[in-house]
Subunit: 304 residues, 4 copies
C-alpha cells in the first residue's frame, strides 16, 4: 500500500472530517495556503465522502478510530489526529519515522505534548547519553484544551496564573514512554505533568534527565545537532520561547547541562495547533502523497 508513487498528484483532493474544532479549523487555514492540496470536503460529521486522495480526521477521541479503520479498509489514505490509533498505525513524527510514513496509508498524528517531548529527548535517549528515568514538565496554552466550553477554560479562570492538570496519568505519558522506549536503548520511564498557562497557542516542555555515566556534556549538544541537522522544522536555538514558533510548523529545541549535578535539561517549543496538530498532519500527508515534505507549511513564526 505504498503511497509515495513516482507521480504525485498536481493538486491532491483532501477531506477534513471534524472541521469545527481547533485542529480542524487550523487544518483548513493551512490547507487554504497549500499549493498542492485542495480541501474538497469539510464536515463536522463522521462519515467520509467517497472521493478524495487523502482524509484528515480531526474527530473526537473515540470516534476517530472507528472512522479511521473504516476509511483505511476502503483504501483511503488517512491521517488521524486523534489518540485512538497511535499504538497501532504508523506514528506520524516525520523526524523519526519519515520512511515509514511515506510508505503507508494509515498514519496516526502524535499528541502535541508527545511531539515536543519526543523531539526533545529522542536523540539523547537513543544515544544512551541519559538514564532512562525521565521527567517532562509541560506547559500548554488554552487551545490545547479544545473548543468545548468549560469553566476550566473561561477567561476569568485561566488568566493571570498557572495550574497543573492531570499531574499523573495524562494519556500522552504512555505515548511518550512508548516512543522513547522504541528507540532501542531500553525501556524508558517518564513522569509527565502538564500545566495550563494563560495564552492561546504554544506549548513548551522542559525535560529533565540524569547524565549517563561517562557521557560528556558536549555529547548532548552534538547528539541534538546531529539529529536535527538539515531538518526543515526542528531547529536548535538560543533563548527558546514559544512565541518564536507561533503559527509555524517549527519545533525549537535548546539543551543545557548542569555538570555539577549531572543533570541534562532539554526544552522544546512548538505551536500546539501546528507542529502539535494540523501542521504535522499536513507534513505527514505531504510525505504520504509524495510531495516535498515542507509544501504549504509555514517555517517562520507568524509573529512579533
Amino acid at each position: 500500500m505504498h503511497m509515495s508513487v513516482l507521480a504525485p498528484p498536481a493538486v491532491a483532493t483532501v477531506a477534513v472530517h471534524g472541521s469545527t474544532g481547533f485542529a480542524g479549523q487550523e487544518l483548513l487555514r493551512l490547507l487554504s495556503a497549500h499549493p498542492r492540496m485542495h480541501a474538497v470536503a469539510c464536515t463536522s460529521d463522521t462519515r467520509a465522502p467517497a472521493q478524495c486522495d487523502l482524509a484528515f480526521l480531526a474527530l473526537p477521541h473515540g470516534v476517530s478510530g472507528e472512522v479511521g479503520r473504516e476509511l483505511a479498509g476502503a483504501r483511503v489514505p488517512v491521517v488521524d489526529l486523534s489518540a485512538d490509533l497511535r499504538a497501532e498505525w504508523a506514528y506520524g513524527l516525520p523526524e523519526l519515522h519519515r520512511d515509514d510514513i511515506a510508505c503507508t496509508a494509515a498514519v496516526a498524528n502524535p499528541g502535541c505534548y508527545a511531539t515536543a517531548a519526543v523531539l526533545a529527548l529522542a536523540p539523547i535517549v537513543s544515544a544512551g547519553l541519559v538514564l532512562s528515568d525521565l521527567i517532562v514538565d509541560g506547559k500548554s496554552g488554552v487551545s490545547g484544551a479544545g473548543k468545548t466550553v468549560s469553566p476550566r477554560t473561561s477567561f476569568t479562570t485561566v488568566s493571570e496564573g498557572i495550574a497543573p492538570y492531570t499531574p499523573v496519568g495524562h494519556h500522552h505519558q504512555l505515548e511518550i514512554e512508548r516512543e522513547l522506549s522504541a528507540l532501542g536503548a531500553g525501556p524508558v520511564s517518564v513522569t509527565f505533568t502538564p500545566h495550563l498557562a494563560p495564552f492561546t497557542r504554544g506549548l513548551l516542555v522542559t525535560a529533565y534527565a540524569r547524565l549517563a555515566a561517562g557521557a560528556a556534556p558536549n555529547e548532548i549538544h552534538e547528539a541534538l545537532a546531529g539529529a536535527y541537522d538539515g531538518e526543515p522544522f526542528v531547529h536548535l536555538v538560543d533563548g527558546i520561547r514559544t512565541q518564536a514558533v507561533r503559527g509555524s510548523n517549527l519545533c525549537h529545541v535548546q539543551a543545557w547541562v548542569d555538570e555539577a549535578r549531572g543533570r541534562v535539561i532539554v526544552a522544546a517549543a512548538i505551536d500546539n495547533l501546528v507542529k502539535g496538530a494540523a501542521g504535522q498532519a499536513i507534513q505527514n500527508a505531504n510525505l504520504m502523497l509524495g510531495l516535498p515534505e515542507q509544501t504549504g507549511l509555514p517555517a517562520q513564526a507568524a509573529w512579533l
Copy 2:
C-alpha cells in the same frame, strides 16, 4: 538581642528602605492595612533613619547587605528582602524557623522560588521519604523580574507564550539546596529551572522526587499534612492554581504520587510579592516584634 519581649509595642514604627520597587510598594500596601505597624519612613535611599522599631530592606541585591549589616550593628531589628545575607542571618521562613526568627534581630527573607520550593519539599525530605536528587520546575509571573524596564519584560515580549530563563545556576538553586540540606536528612541536590509566564503575580513550583525505598504513597500526604496542620498560611489543597493565592500570604501545596514509576510530584503556589516577598517579611517582623504572626496579613485571595 532578643526581640520578642513580653510587651510588644501597641503600634510599632517601621522603616521601608527601597520603597519604589515592586516588593517595596507591596510592603507599603500591606503596611497600610496593618493594625500594629506604622511606616514612619519610606525611602528609595539606602541610608536608614535614626528612629524606628524595625527596618525592612527592599534594596537592590548587593546594596542591601551593606545597609543591613550597618543597621544590625546599630541594634536596629532588620528584615532584609535581598539575597545578600541569606547564608548568614536567620532564614526567614517562619514555618521552618519560627523560633529562631522570634529570637533574633536580623532576618534574611527567603527568595520567592525558594519559599515555594522549600515549603513543597521540606516535610518529605526531612522525613526521608524521597531520594536526595530533586528537580524543581518554576513558573513565575512578570513582577518577579522586578520593576527595571527591559525588553525582556515588555508586554509584546512576554504575552502569549512561556520561556525558561537561567535554566542552570539561578541563585535560588543554591538557596533551596542549602535549606533542604540543613534538614538533617543528608545533602540534597536540586536542579532548578525557572520560567517566565504571562501574568503579573503568582509563582508555581512543580517539584519532582523519587520515592525512597520503603516509603508508601500515603506517607507523602501524611508528612505534608502533619507539617502544615495548624499553619495559618500553608494549606494543602485540591486543584492547586496560583490564582487562588493571589494577593494573599498563602502558600498552597498539593502532592501526587505516581506509584508505577516511583515518583512524587509536589506543587506549591504563592503570590511572589506577598508570601514570596513583602507578606513573608511582615510575617517575620510580626514574630520579631512579638506580635501575633498573622497580624495584618491577608489569608484570603484577593480574587475571583
Copy 3:
C-alpha cells in the same frame, strides 16, 4: 422606614442571596474584612432566611426583583444588585443620593457601566456645561459578563483582542439616561456602546459631550472638582487607568477639553466588581445601617 437610627448595631448581621456568582463572591470577600457586618447566611437559593439586619440580593436579573419585593414587604432592609428595581427603588449611587439611601430600606444598586458613566457626567450635565446629547464608549473586563460559561467568554475567544457587544440597546443605556435626565437640566440622550476587553476586572467609560455655548473649559474641571471634593471614593486623577482602582471601591475620573472642536471628554474607571457591584452595595448598606460610609471598603488599589 428610616434605618439610620441613632444607634447602629455593633455588628450587623447580613444575608447574601446569590452567593455563587462573581458579585456574590465579591460580597463575601469584602464582608469577611468588614468590621461591622457579619454574613449569617449565604445562599444560592432565592428564599430569604428569617433573621438578619440587612439582605444583599445578588440573584439573576428577573428573580431578584420578586425576592426583593418580598423582603421589603417583610420589612427586611435590602440592597438589590440586579437591574430589576432600579426604576422603582432608591438608586444606590451614594455620591448623588446619599441622603435618600440613608433614609430607606430598599436600595437598588446601580449597574457597573451606569455607575462609571453617571459619576463621569453628572456634575457637568447638572451644571449645564454640556449639551444633552452624550456618547459613552464603555470597556469592561470579562468578569462583567458574569460566571455563566459561554463560548463568548472563553479564554481563546476573549484574549488578544477587543470587540463591541450590544452596541445599541444595552439595558444600562436607559439607566444612564434616566439618572442624568433626573438631574434637572433637561432630558438627556445617551448613545452607549460597551466593549469586551481581555482582562478580568476593571471598567472604563470614555464619555464624549459637546461643550455648551458660553461654557469655559476650566468650568468642566471645576464642576468635577467641586462635586467630588471630600468624596472618599471618587477621585480626580491624572493618567487614568483601570489598574489603579483594581480591587478597591474607588472611582477615578479624568476630564479633557478639546477647545478647538468644542468637545469635552470625561473618563471614569472603576473595578466593576467593587464600585460597580459588591463594594457599592456595602457602601449603600453602611449608609442604611447608620455606619460610617467607608467602613470595610478598600480605598486603595490592591495591586501593582
Copy 4:
C-alpha cells in the same frame, strides 16, 4: 513618473529601511512570502542602497521624511510608513486612492488609527448621511506603541486593564480630519481618543456620528456595502472583533443605527501591523509596481 507600466517586474527588488522596529519586521515577514518581491536590503540605517525597484521606509518619524525626499529625488519609488509626508505625498489608502497610488512613485502610508477610522467613516461622510461632527474612540494593542522599551509598555503596566492616552491632540486626529474633509462633503471635525489595551496586535475604532436629517438607517448600510463591494480586504461583518483580522490585511467594518437617538455607530477592526502598517505598504507597492493588488497579502486571519 508613472510606475504601473505594462510589464511589471517578474520579481521586484525592494529595500526595507528601518527593519528593526515592529513595522519593519512585519514587512520582512510578509515579504518573505511575497511571490513577486524580493528584499535586497534591510537596514536599520537611514541611507538607501543604490539599486532597487522600490524602497519601504519604516524609519522613525522625523527621519523618514528626509530620507523619503532624497530617494524620491533619486527617482526611487518609495512607500514611507512614517507620518512625515502624509500631507504632501499621495495618501496610501488604496480603497480611496487606488488610481493615484498606481500613478505615483511617492506614497505616504496612512497611520493605523487613520486607516480604520477613514475606512469606517468615508462612505457615509461622502454620501452626506451623517453630520460633520464625528467622534472616534480608538483601542489599540501594545505593538502600536512601537518597540522602544518603556515603563508604559511593560507587561506589569499594560496587562489587566485599559487606559486612554493622548486623549486630545493625537497626530492621527488631524490626519483623519484631513482625509474625511477631502471627500467633498464639507469640512469634518473629529474628536479622537485612543486607548491602550492588553493585547499585542489589533486595533478597533468605534466611530459615532449623528444621522443627517432625512437620512434613513438603511442608507448607512447601503453606503458601506456599495463602497466596499468587491474590495479584497474590506469586508462588512457581523460580530466584529479584532481577533478575526489578526495577521491579515483585512479591515472588518460593522455599522449600527440607534434610530431613537438619531445615532450612527460604525466600528472598524484591523491588525495594526498589517493593514495598519506593513500590509498596506505592500498593497500600495503592489499598485505602484503594477502587480495585482492582493499579491502576497494574507486575506485570512492567521488565527483561532
